[in-house]
Symmetry: C2
Subunit: 223 residues, 2 copies
């Protein structure tokens, strides 16, 4: 769960896609990928919605922002819709990503299989700790953060992930912006500020637990 700021002072354009729709695209994509892995190749909006606890109208409305994808009497062709959603999300290509901060969370993220599966390739890792610089974690050699701009140019890196202590996060974000990074996912438990041309998403892992505690408490109240 995450908190997105699009870093714009002006209101969103009228034709802009609501961010909730974009986040549901990711959920549709995962479910379609599961379906294909299970050997299912077509699915109705109703069945796709049901697997995610959305209505069929919600599924159809979300996808209608981007075009017409279903076939009468067939539903969606899973492979086709997967390709369409990946194109919309921009993950029809591979994005080279920089990882900053090689503590426990950084190491966990370097080893997380879900990134490369969706088109994100962590190609460079950085830290400031001399005892970490030079070591190889999950096949990637940790570099000194002073070499960030050089590595960004060399590997055509456009996205960065921050997993440094809260106190260092803004500094690291500024360095990423200075190096020409276009989007940042921040795992540090602190709000950072970026110029308007850089996309930012802050990840707050406690939000998942809050959703679950709401469910548990709400179930009690109902029963």
């Amino acid at each position: 769960m995450s908190q997105r700021k699009n870093n714009r002072a002006e209101p969103p354009e009228s034709g802009e896609v609501p961010r909730a729709v974009v986040s549901r695209l990711s959920l549709y994509l995962r479910e379609l990928q599961h379906l294909v892995a299970e050997g299912t190749h077509t699915i109705s909006s109703g069945d796709l919605g049901e697997r995610l606890n959305f209505t069929d109208a919600q599924v159809r409305k979300d996808l209608a922002y981007f075009g017409h994808f279903g076939y009468p009497g067939i539903g969606y062709r899973a492979d086709e819709l997967i390709a369409a959603i990946r194109k919309i999300l921009g993950t029809d290509r591979v994005w080279p990503v920089a990882m900053i901060g090689i503590g426990n969370l950084g190491r966990a993220l370097l080893g997380y299989k879900g990134f490369s599966r969706q088109g994100f390739d962590i190609v460079a890792a950085f830290d400031t700790d001399p005892t970490k610089i030079g070591i190889v974690v999950e096949g990637i050699q940790v570099r000194d953060i002073v070499t960030l701009a050089e590595a960004v140019r060399q590997h055509h890196i456009r996205l960065g992930m921050i997993a440094v202590p809260a106190a260092a996060a803004q500094n690291v974000a500024d360095m990423l912006v200075g190096a020409g990074i276009e989007g940042i996912v921040n795992f540090a438990p602190v709000t950072i500020a970026l110029p308007p041309h850089v996309s930012l998403l802050g990840v707050d892992l406690a939000i998942e637990l809050e959703q679950i505690s709401f469910d548990v408490v709400n179930r009690q109240r109902k029963s």
Copy 2:
């Protein structure tokens, strides 16, 4: 970003709060906590919305599910609204949580400061690896998973987090259910199935990157 299944076959009740509203409550709570930390004690729905890129109507509509919180000419009293949201989310108490899987991600989660700040206290950690059982990580001694049910009773644990390899996740989830856990946050990159009385939220860390790549691609298309 996460994929929630409420594990129900029947459609949601008409009076039920949409899950998108519940997830926005968490965002409002964080922003209010930041405000108080900055020394601000009242805020209008417009200003609160603006900080999160929501409209003031959205903020008012979301909160109206749960009561009337604003004061004419003043706006929301931050401390009061924080307390109200915590009560709604069930985080006005401390939840003892079990952590299963003490690899890199499990260690990172054990050290994540954001959980205790929001009312989640990881009181027990489990693994199956004999070289990990007995070691102390972030002040918590790792236990053998066979002692799970005993620890759940002893510490009155109601929520669990899974950070084991994908192949082990369903087994671990079944053990948590058997031990009487009421809600699970699953960080393993695999879909798990639970009985209807247990809440489940699957965390997919790549979704954050997809939202950012959408932003970056979409900005290019517009310009």
